[in-house]
Amino acid sequence: MMKKITALLLALIMVLSMAACGKEEPDVDTGAKTEDTTKEDNTSKEDNVKEEEPQADTSDAKEPVTIKFSWWGGDSRHEATQNAVKKFEETYDWITVETQYGAWSGWEESMATAFATGTAPDVNQINWNWITSFSSDGSAFKDLNDYSDIIKLDNFGQSFLDQCTLAGELQAIPVSLTGRIFYWNKTTFEMAGIATPTTLEELYAAGETFKSVLGDDYYPIALGEYDRMILMVYYLESVYGKPWVENNQLMYTQEEIQKGLEFIQSLEDKHVTPSIQTILGDGAESLDKNPKWMEGKYAGIFEWDSAASKFQSALNEGQEFVVGEYLPDMGEHQGGYAKVSLAFAISETSEHPEEAAMLINFLLNEEAGAEIMASERGIPLSKSGLQVCKDKGLLNETVTEANGKVLSWVSFPLDPKFEAAELKSSDGTYYDVMAGLSYGDYSIEEAVTVLIDGINDVLSN
């Protein structure tokens, strides 16, 4: 009998523990559960405050609040953000911030699920196109205009805020702007006996030189599928002087896009860039982890200005990494675009939007926060944040140089749907077209048709 009772009890405990597991999730989202668990710590905090300030007005006595904050990035960003969060908690001692962070890989998928199910953290680092993808009607993020008394919006240019405004709501605060630019491994170019290219003609010539002087394994630049797509748009905008998409319409004709794809293919044909098959055969997860980049066999990239440090630090010792120039002989116009690299948004489901807004303001506008964050998320757009970083010499030199070149060159807008998952993901249209062309599965004409159809599908959706 005793055994049966024990077994029954154990079964009940298991059931209850499962129920507890199930319950934890919604609590996490609202912060209610975490609030409970941290209440003890915060009660003591609160008591301390009360002891120190017995005369404080009741309106100043703050209830302990717990908010959640999520972001993706690399180790250095994680470290800086955690330090900034710690500082924030010290400054606003009734607020506890729980952090969720990780690498980009798989992050978008998990956050999409969180936003769709209303279980996202209070404050979120978001990709610019998430506003369009997840909240085209403003249902996923709070309108930050409502918190303008907390977040100093006049620290940001109106045009930047407009880029994060959809459905009449300011859905996120832009952190920085970014664009693609060339970076070169100067050491490899020196080995080949030539200078880093400053014109398209020089880039073509470098392909031939690399092949004849250094060998078949050496290429002036390595371009993955998405890199090729962005480079093609940059090329076409330079030649034709019009944005890629405007008013939800693709602005380029079949013939014009064909010219763009021919340009991309010519880079492969002239040994400027390795084929997609060669890059995949290297077995690297990404270009910065590719041994051929580390060794200098791939001597260039066309990358985001904010990605400079990642690629620079990946190089083997003794190699010089330099920021390149835009190629003026591509066309008569200054092609390319800059976009909001990432932004901070508050989930619509947040129960503590004011505290969340305080965290955003602290990270971007307040001296203590901006100082710790520095250029971990690119060159700050916040005027006060940028000033702090400049005054204290906190900005990464390479990133600053690259960002300066991007912003002074590019002149075209970017439609957020350019980055739609149907186009940009590894089984999306861009990858299909660029890899299909490189593998020889598509003729140029077929590739043009597939690309246009894919883009029009997204634009019409």
Binding site: K4, A7, T113, A435, Y439
Partner: protein, 312 residues
């Protein structure tokens, strides 16, 4: 008064005993309750809701705007999806027989009295524990990349190895190999079955002059067919649901040559948020798998030997 009290005591005692009996009768239910709750919430509910979603155009951030058979129509019209089904069939038909043969072969060897056999058994089981992880992806890439271990080894013999990971002709083979390499669990089951084959049958066969090969095909194999059948069905189910291998090593590439249907379902659901389409693909896969399993079950009467069945 005393009578009344005694009757109420009787009533209480009979209620207690009724409760006790009912508890005794239903105690099993309490034991399976944790599993039951898990099953209802994490299996049955998604199972039914995915069937409903499969007849809608449900998108994660847009909801449902259309109901009908459009997902199923699109599946049959889409070259990409048809290719994924084709790749999945290839994958299953390569890995299942290969894994059964390899695991049976290794189990057969490990059934002999070899020195340090326990060490070998453990060593052969380890890949199954590792499963599809980042470490395995790194290992596989290190072996099969253009200048990886395999091509370097081939180079010593003057052979220029192919581009295993990036050539669509070979990439599926690399993914299949990962699955076959993880033969540990099937091997353990085979090993248990081999141990149950009566030794006197071998002795009798040896006296009659049967060699090892003959003994294997005429004694061992027929007697372990129930286990072969079990492994066949489980491996078939696992192969059709394979996700980790292609996801961590090739992400479905190159040129969709390793895009199994499970990967496409994942991409559809979590990259482009087309839950309705993902559900439809999952249901089609479920139906196909059910058909194959049914065929396996029907076919067993022709080739599986059950000793309590007086022969075939």
């Amino acid at each position: 008064m005393a009578k009344k009290a005694s009757s109420s005591t009787l009533q209480v005692s009979s209620t207690k005993s009724g409760l006790k009996k009912s508890l005794k009768r239903n105690i099993g239910f309490f034991f399976i309750l944790p599993w039951l709750i898990g099953f209802l919430v994490f299996r049955l509910y998604p199972f039914i809701s995915s069937l409903i979603y499969s007849f809608t155009d449900f998108q994660l951030f847009k909801g449902v705007s259309e109901v009908g058979l459009m997902n199923y129509e699109e599946i049959f019209a889409s070259k990409k999806i048809m290719k994924a089904f084709n790749v999945t069939f290839k994958y299953a038909f390569i890995t299942v027989p290969l894994k059964l043969v390899v695991s049976l072969f290794i189990a057969y060897i490990l059934n002999f009295k070899i020195k340090g056999v326990n060490l070998f058994r453990t060593a052969y089981y380890i890949p199954s524990i590792l499963g599809g992880s980042v470490a395995i992806a790194v290992l596989w890439k290190a072996v099969f990349r253009d200048d990886g271990l395999l091509n370097t080894a081939l180079g010593f013999f003057g052979i220029a190895g192919p581009q295993w990971l990036s050539d669509p002709r070979y990439s599926l083979f690399i993914i299949c190999l990962l699955r076959v390499w993880q033969f540990g669990s099937a091997m353990v089951i085979f090993l248990a079955a081999l141990k149950n084959v009566p030794l006197d049958l071998y002795e009798a066969a040896a006296i009659d002059g049967a060699g090892k090969g003959r003994q294997f095909f005429n004694i061992t194999l027929p007697l372990i067919t129930p286990v072969v059948f079990y492994n066949l069905v489980t491996q078939l189910c696992q192969a059709f649901q394979e996700f980790n291998g292609p996801y961590i090593i090739t992400q479905g590439g190159p040129r969709n040559s390793t895009t199994l249907i499970s990967l496409l379902i994942y991409n559809s659901a979590f990259k482009t948020y087309e839950m309705g389409m993902a559900s439809a693909m999952a249901w089609l896969m479920f139906i196909i798998l059910t058909i194959f399993t049914a065929i396996a079950f029907i076919s067993q009467k022709y080739w599986v030997y059950y000793s309590d069945d007086e022969g075939r």
